[in-house]
């Protein structure tokens, strides 16, 4: 979390006043229990953030969030399509990526989909201004 804060501080420093910073953030769904948050952290990307903490961090460095939208449905569609494609291409991917990398990527995609389907992982589009 401290590194994320330091990255946002640097973004704030190099951004001109009044200008936007925009992007997509995968995060733990707001309002989940501590147990579900722990599960989301296991299923999601490494160091996935707690509910709403990206907006909190953004505001902590002095940026103002001007737009936020939940894009989890589109995220699930993309994630599922990528997972399906990996299965379709399994033989050639194992040759090019190596078995260990292939298995790790397959596991990550499955975990991500599991977290989305359990309602504990989300993706948001967030725009802030300096």
């Amino acid at each position: 979390m401290l590194e994320k804060l330091s990255v946002l501080r640097e973004c704030d420093r190099v951004l001109k006043r009044g200008r936007p910073i925009a992007g997509y953030v995968i995060h733990i769904a707001p309002g989940v229990t501590k147990a579900k948050a722990r599960r989301a952290a296991e299923l999601g990307p490494s160091d996935v953030m707690a509910p709403a903490s990206f907006e909190t961090l953004t505001q902590a460095v002095g940026l103002t969030v001007v737009f936020s939208e939940d894009v989890t449905a589109a995220f699930r569609t993309t994630c599922a399509a990528l997972a399906d494609a990996r299965r379709t291409l399994e033989d050639e991917l194992r040759l090019e990526e190596g078995d260990e990398f292939y298995e790790e990527e397959r596991r990550k995609k499955q975990s991500m989909l599991q977290g989305i389907d359990e309602g504990i992982l989300r993706r948001s589009f967030v725009v802030a201004r300096k």
Partner: protein
């Protein structure tokens, strides 16, 4: 974030990058060099919110091989600075016209204050 450097270096080696392109073609019907989950439509949504003019300079933090910053800068006709740590990803990023690729950590950006007209990030803060 820093602990993932080794993984991302390996992710962007040439064979895996080629494999990634084929995965995109099968999954999404086109290949743009996705780093994560940001589709073309989402990159275009980003562009709409960044309010970029042709004189602008856009910073892509955690750019990987250049997506989605490369698409946004092409749409807007502006300059792009791509910042990330894996060398092999930056080699791909800097092949895009109008792109400067800089190896740096997000927590220590080698730029003067108030340098950029907009900043984009995609699944960097997760």
């Amino acid at each position: 974030m820093a602990d993932n450097c080794e993984f991302f270096e390996s992710k962007y080696d040439a064979a895996r990058a080629r494999a990634g392109r084929r995965i995109e073609e099968v999954a999404l019907g086109q290949s743009v060099g996705l780093n994560g989950y940001t589709t073309v439509v989402e990159a275009e949504t980003l562009c709409e919110h960044l309010d970029l003019e042709t004189t602008a300079t856009l910073l892509d933090v955690g750019s990987g091989q250049g997506w989605p910053g490369s698409h946004i800068s092409r749409m807007a006709g502006c300059r792009l600075v791509s910042v990330d740590v894996p060398w092999n990803a930056l080699q791909m990023a800097k092949t895009q016209p109008g792109t400067v690729a800089v190896r740096a950590r997000g927590g220590s950006l080698p730029f003067r204050g108030d340098s950029f007209d907009a900043i984009v990030h995609a699944d960097v803060f997760c």
